[in-house]
Symmetry: C2
Subunit: 457 residues, 2 copies
């Protein structure tokens, strides 16, 4: 980071002096991701800075930039410049960029692509959003099963330069039906005379074009793959997904789950480049829904209004009981949600989960109740001289605490599993949702116990 600041100062100085040659030298030893970060800090001069980059570095840097800046740059490009950058890109990167651009820019990009690339891009664009097909690249190494290792190596030498990876080569029939794969390691370590069909691995993990990209990433992570083949309904190889794209998917999916858990509708745009209105649109629906559902808690309190008036001290502990219940419930729900997402927990485990949470909740509840009893008597009654707090009141509060935590953890651990069973995303069953349910339950428990234990109510 400090390093980046130094580079920014340096670039600024060189820009003032119009010393583009030194900037070129400076960029030559930098990684595309870092150059992109520098360019984004000079939006007014982004075109000038971009033009000092050599062709291949320019394309790689372009890919690393935020889509807002890509748009800015594209609008400043001549058709020729556009052609040069676009045709240097890997197909999957080109598709990623196109998906973020407005229609007129897309048209310009496609008009300036090679006819063959344009055809492939158009095909990939047809796959559903978030499918394997939409994130795959068509630039992979294909081998015939009857050639020798040395011919395979020759083929890689001849065609490999434009392929996104040469480390997993796919063996297919001439009609592209997938037969197996052979790694570059296997090719290098095998005798040059061997025939591909004798050394290829036929036990192959693959995905269909319509498979969810989250599943694709999970398969790659589970089986430690550097690339995974994507096949159509006739089992013909149409593309591959490489591990760098799988990592992006894994990070995006975690972000999505975290946003859902916080009652936000997920967005794939970085926070700082999202407009206030867009952020508002992602946040208001859940706030609204949860606010309206709080009508129930209001109704419960209203129906006990006269009793609360008779024993006003009970009101003071409502926030503590609701919050502790909510926290206990979301601990359970979030643990289960993440376990389901990582496939460490399955639907068939539901009874084990419930039994486990029952025991955990009793342990938590009893400890919290005992400490709370001491705290209420020592701090609230003795230290703050609140004479209306009697041992009976403290007992009601602590009993409510145990019962609330018990129910909260059970609701928290079972709702995500039920949601998954019903085909919903378990992630929405996190803190805010659980809190709203647990609030109502904890109030009902509180008032029932109070009515039963305190004779005057």
């Amino acid at each position: 980071m400090e390093n980046l600041n130094e580079i920014l100062d340096e670039v600024e100085k060189l820009l003032e002096k119009h010393d583009y040659y030194s900037i070129k030298i400076l960029f030559r030893d930098m990684e595309p991701a870092d150059i992109a970060a520098v360019l984004e800090e000079f939006p007014d001069r982004i075109g000038v800075l971009f033009r000092v980059l050599p062709k291949d570095l320019a394309a790689e840097t372009f890919v690393e930039m935020n889509s807002d800046y890509q748009k800015l740059l594209l609008s400043s490009f001549t058709d020729n410049e556009m052609k040069e950058v676009i045709n240097e890109l890997y197909i999957d990167d080109a598709v990623d960029i196109i998906e973020e651009m407005p229609a007129n820019v897309v048209r310009r990009i496609l008009d300036n692509s090679d006819p063959e690339a344009r055809k492939t891009i158009n095909e990939i664009l047809k796959y559903p959003e978030d499918s394997a097909g939409s994130i795959m690249t068509t630039e992979y190494v294909r081998l015939d099963e009857d050639i020798s290792v040395s011919d395979a190596l020759k083929r890689i030498r001849r065609t490999g330069v434009d392929k996104e990876t040469i480390y997993t080569c796919y063996v297919t029939k001439p009609d592209r039906t997938l037969l197996g794969y052979v790694t570059a390691k296997k090719l290098l370590l095998s005798d040059e005379e061997m025939i591909i069909s004798d050394i290829m691995e036929t036990n192959i993990i693959f995905v269909g074009t319509n498979e969810d990209k989250e599943v694709v990433a999970k398969e790659m992570s589970k089986y430690d793959l550097l690339a995974i083949p994507v096949v159509d309904k006739e089992n013909r190889l149409v593309g591959i997904v490489t591990v760098d794209d799988a990592i992006d998917v894994i990070e995006d999916e975690a972000t999505e789950d975290i946003e859902k858990m916080a009652a936000i509708i997920p967005s794939d745009k970085p926070y700082l480049s999202t407009s206030v209105f867009e952020i508002w649109k992602k946040r208001i629906p859940w706030l609204l829904l949860l606010m309206v559902s709080a009508t129930f808690t209001g109704q419960i309190i209203t129906s006990f209004e006269s009793k609360l008036a008779a024993c006003t001290v009970l009101t003071a502990f409502i926030p503590m009981l609701m919050d502790t219940g909510g926290n206990a419930g979301s601990q359970a729900s979030v643990t289960i949600i993440r376990g389901l997402a990582l496939e460490e927990i399955h639907m068939r485990d539901i009874f084990r989960i419930i039994f486990k949470e029952m025991r955990v909740s009793l342990c938590c509840g009893v400890v919290l109740a005992v400490i709370n009893f001491g705290k209420i008597m020592l701090v609230d009654r003795w230290l703050f001289h609140n004479e209306s707090i009697t041992p009976t009141i403290a007992f009601v509060i602590c009993l409510t605490l145990v019962a609330t935590i018990f129910v909260a953890k059970l609701v928290g651990c079972s709702l995500p599993v039920i949601a998954k069973r019903l085909g919903f995303d378990p992630a929405v069953m996190a803190s805010p949702f659980i809190t709203t349910i647990v609030d109502a339950i904890s109030l009902l428990i509180y008032f029932s116990i109070a009515t039963a234990v305190i004779p005057s109510l």
Copy 2:
């Protein structure tokens, strides 16, 4: 998943018939991760099932198993079996396993390792937990700078079989000082006569042995690397981290952040194999702390007790105001926490963030207030015939809503940034923490506005 169930039935039938040969055939065409999943379903027969596996598949399957089952298997191994499995493992996998085992098992593993492997394992075990050194492997391809491409390829053919990856080869001086790298792709596509120093890439991304593994994974994701070199303080190459391990780190870090956000102390053990007591230990500290901090909200309510008694209807809206404030605050905090974790947001952006959240919170607050006013008058007053709800009361509630959301979003967006500035993990500043603070603030706002607006209070 259905497939797994079918295989489990099949294995069960074959086990009953003692038909180990068919099991062997069945396993031969399966992936190690899937065989591990099958074995874990037969804990009583795990030794028998494991022994049908050929040597290399056995080691790969062992790595994929949960540490509880690894322990179970190791305890059933003879020294000879132990030797066979351990010496088939990659060093980094062996270290991962050893880190999870009790001391007596560790001693047995080390006693049965090759002397050289034992030395390397002991060295890696010395690196701090979660450091680059602790997750690296020492099995990489090293090349001298003055050899030719064809010699390099020969060297890979000779030594590559035991290396975790051959796709990035590291060029060092004889004392292992890191000079650069050359990819297998580059080697294959270059003229055989070329000298390594002419084709190697010297602009190399590397990490130190003590670097946090999270940083390692981030670098690999940022620069799309398949492997990253790990160097000591003298810039000498000591190992590499491969992309499959980086993916595990990324998943673990996301889980850790999610757990922290839900007020759980992170654990790296899967939920189902964690004991009730361990789960309790991870959950009770935050529950306790947050419960005790709720003393403030109790005090605030107590100090307004007489006013609440005079206008009991105000109590009914406390849960709704607290929850909406909490939800609004955690939406902001979670967005910022994730942005910081993905490095999309930096400390220098704090004023942009605050300004953005101010505008978002006003948009959210006003919309919620207007809808809530309508809801209170129509549902609570008119539908439920609650005559004590006057337009003045509804006004107090809605004004509180706007102010609470405003403050909640400001607190929510700034606390994570401040935490990071002070060197704490921003993730702990999520929902539960924010909720506790926002609860107290929203009550203060509520009672202040009520006192100011309602003449009888």
